[in-house]
Amino acid sequence: MKYMMFVCTDTEPERDESTVPDIDVWVAENDASGRRVAGNELVAPSSATTVRVRGGELLLSDGPFAETKEVVVGFDILECADLDEAIAVAAAHPMAYGGRIELRPFREF
């Protein structure tokens, strides 16, 4: 079962930084176990371009599709047996402490 892991910022991060795990360790462990299929950090939302086609016309706008305080700063695609396993993987990511992580299952056909 694949899960998209949106890595987001949060306005109230964990204050005790000594408890935050290391990102390199997280990537290495989950790559080795096969739970991390792909993933990357993203450039700031100010660099985003929003694309729409309406009435055959291409409409572009500068910036993200929604202005929010919390923004997506990265993503990972996980391959896990079930939600509990995906939660365990997400909870070990440094941004679960410094930000927040949203887990979304892939639609299965």
Binding site: M1, A81, D82, L83, D84, I87, L103, P105, R107
Partner: protein, 378 residues
């Protein structure tokens, strides 16, 4: 008959993974029993009879869906008379899945009532003051999420069990208080006790599970004495003790004797036991100190102030209340407690004003009447 519902649903979900199918087949088995038992007589093994009907129904449906042979064989293997441990494992799996923390708390409570306890959706909707269609959506959404996000159908083990158990107990506790509150649904309190009893049998080594059941039994023992003939609430110190359920009290106390105090439910059970046995307010105040330590919250502080007021004088209670007053802003019960302590401290005029203010803020009509009666007494 409904005690069989949850276990049939639990077994069918395990084998088919299909919540909707499991519930439909269990309900059809119930309906068949309602129709046939009065005519043909109740079978010797009612649970086995119901399981067999539900199982055959599930096989029919799956056959029509052309499900692969292996799954059909698994369903056919569902015994009409399963081993006791199999029933227990299934029901425990169902409870833990319904109470998964990835579901909203209100959805967990509704799903547990519907799926584990078999309570009809309209009854759940009425108790939670929402329309039937809203409740149906809430339950459907929860079941869809279980399937889409693949919330596992299993009891967590090891460290995860310790993390997840409090969430399950919180659902049962909410269920109980829903049934016990002034305008609650009394059947829910009984249902919460039934589920807590089941959980105690399934997890006898977990002290907080036994503590929760003891708490329910001890509180529930006062159900007949809590209201007078006109339905008004009667405070604890004015209740007719002969109307307390001595059997429930004895069972609660017996449970506590064998239970280590490791968390908030066992502590609250000891508080309820203190009330039931007339242990004295200094004992109860001591347990509230302990509760405030392991589970600090404004409500605990409020009750702690009440207990200290009884044990060590109104001034002691009022001074504790002063310390936490800021955190308690917006709790209607604060005014009632302050009124009671102020009356005991001798300032009757101010106490009457506070009782009237508390009545104006009370959420339920029975509480409002009780508070106005106190104001009139002063």
């Amino acid at each position: 008959m409904w005690e069989f519902y949850g276990r049939i649903v639990a077994a069918l979900i395990r084998v088919t993974g299909d919540w909707g199918l499991a519930e439909d087949c269990a309900q059809e088995a119930m309906a068949a029993a309602v129709e046939r038992w009065p005519r043909d007589g109740k079978p010797d093994n009612p649970g086995g009879w119901l399981m067999a009907v539900a199982r055959n129904r599930a096989i029919d449906v799956l056959r029509r869906k052309a499900v692969e042979q292996t799954k059909l064989r698994e369903v056919a293997m569902l015994w009409a008379a399963p081993e006791q441990h199999e029933i227990e494992d299934d029901r425990l799996r169902l409870i833990f899945t319904c109470c998964h923390p990835a579901l909203a708390l209100e959805a967990r409570v509704a799903l547990t009532l519907r799926t584990v306890a078999g309570v009809p959706t309209p009854d759940i909707a009425r108790a939670f003051l929402v329309t039937e269609s809203t409740m149906t959506r809430r339950i459907t959404r929860a079941k869809t999420k279980i399937a889409d996000a693949r919330i596992p159908y299993r009891v967590p083990s090891g460290v995860a069990l310790g993390e997840r158990l409090p969430g399950v107990l919180a659902v049962l506790y909410l269920l109980f208080t829903r049934g016990y509150d002034a305008d609650g649904e009394p059947a829910f309190a009984a249902e919460a006790i039934r589920l807590a009893r089941l959980l105690t049998e399934l997890m006898p080594a977990e002290p907080e599970v036994s503590g929760l059941l003891a708490l329910f039994l001890l509180q529930h023992s006062r159900r007949d004495a809590r209201r007078d003939a006109s339905g008004d609430l009667v405070p604890l110190d004015r209740q007719d003790r002969s109307r307390w359920d001595s059997g429930a009290i004895a069972e609660g106390l017996e449970l506590l004797r064998g239970t280590a105090v490791t968390g908030p439910y066992a502590i609250q059970a000891h508080i309820a036991a203190g009330h039931a046995t007339g242990a004295g307010w200094s004992v109860i105040a001591g347990w509230y100190d302990e509760l405030a330590r392991v589970q600090p919250s404004p409500i605990v502080e409020l009750n702690r102030a009440v207990a200290h007021g009884h044990a060590y004088g109104a001034e002691a209670g009022l001074s504790l209340l002063t310390v936490v007053r800021e955190k308690l802003e917006g709790y209607p019960a604060v005014l009632a407690v302050e009124a009671d302590l102020t009356a005991k401290a001798g300032d009757l005029e101010r106490a009457a004003d506070l009782f009237r203010a508390a009545a104006a803020a009370a959420p339920a009509e029975v509480e409002r009447r009780a508070l106005l009666a106190r104001a009139a007494e002063l």
